[in-house]
């Protein structure tokens, strides 16, 4: 067999070069490098692809620059709802959660769904109970709060109230 491979993403969209300062770009690159290294460290030691993608995504979820985990955006109601999924190419087993808030790393809960239940996708209170059963770490609203995400919500809501046209496809990105 040949060697390992790993690829990660931290989202896509209208990333205006005019608004990208050298400091911001350096921070994004650092965040990506940290996540890639977290996943590659697993593969370098002979670990599994599943462990590697979990490690990489956890690092991205811990970095507020990216829209997941600690950097999750807000709904129109001012709440945060997170979705996550894992899939294992060996047997097409999969686990997912949707609309949850609490676990610091939703991707770990998605994996718990795959490994601890006969189901694929869980939502609601039972998903959070599973997170507790699996011993996953929880965060509160202060842990997940991010000023720039909150400000983005206010700006978007103001645009809607004023009827301002918005054809930026990036606003529809997850």
């Amino acid at each position: 067999m040949s060697g390992y491979s790993l690829a990660i993403h931290g989202g896509a969209g209208t990333i205006l070069k005019s608004k990208m300062t050298p400091e911001k770009e350096a921070a994004y690159r650092e965040g990506l490098s940290t996540a890639l290294e977290a996943g590659e460290a697993v593969l370098r030691k002979g670990g599994s692809a599943m462990d590697a993608v979990e490690a990489a995504v956890c690092a991205l979820e811990d970095e507020p620059l990216f829209n997941s985990g600690r950097g999750a955006v807000y709904t129109s109601a001012g709440a945060q709802e997170m979705d996550a999924c894992v899939m294992d190419g060996r047997d097409r087993s999969a686990g997912a959660v949707a609309g949850i808030f609490g676990p610091k790393n939703p991707i770990r809960l998605a994996r718990a769904v795959m490994e601890r239940t006969p189901h694929v996708l869980l939502i609601g209170p039972r998903a959070l109970e599973l997170a507790q059963e699996a011993g996953l770490e929880f965060g509160d609203r202060d842990y997940f709060f991010d000023q720039k995400r909150w400000d983005a919500l206010q700006k978007t809501m103001q645009m809607r109230e004023s009827g301002e046209e918005d054809d930026d496809p990036a606003r529809r990105h997850g």
Partner: protein
């Protein structure tokens, strides 16, 4: 949205994707991320995929599974299949975004049809590559 795909030394593939959704979304709205075959997909025989973008469109076109289907039934390479889905299926149908994917041989592709995608990749024995815009 964030995500990762990997091939380990045993040739096994895996994918993982996580998201907060989109700013000011309707409460309860779910995109493609937690839907296997749409935003997340893995099958050792073909590829592993993690997507980011306009989730509703990625769901309608079952983006991840479609790439695997093109590889399996048309004999396309990962690069051909992923590029077709991102540029020919999603882009003309309001499906802005991109994805990262790896095949059973460890080949990596990272296509996107918007201005940029935060991305990074590495293959054993090579230096990591990180990029934001089309480069």
């Amino acid at each position: 949205t964030v995500g990762a795909v990997a091939r380990d030394r045993d040739g096994n593939l895996a994918a993982a994707t996580s998201t907060g959704g989109m700013t000011a979304k309707m409460p309860g709205r779910i995109g493609d991320t937690p839907i296997p075959g749409a935003g997340t997909f893995a099958d050792n025989a073909t590829c592993a995929v993690s997507a980011t973008g306009h989730g509703e469109v990625f769901i309608r076109y079952t983006a991840g599974a479609e790439i695997a289907a093109r590889m399996r039934h048309l004999g396309e390479t990962l690069e051909q299949a992923a590029r077709h889905v991102v540029m020919e299926d999603l882009a003309p149908n309001d499906g802005s975004g991109g994805l990262v994917a790896v095949d059973s041989e460890g080949n990596i592709t990272l296509p996107f049809n918007c201005e940029g995608m935060y991305r990074s990749s590495v293959r054993e024995g090579s230096d990591p590559e990180t990029a934001i815009y089309a480069e």
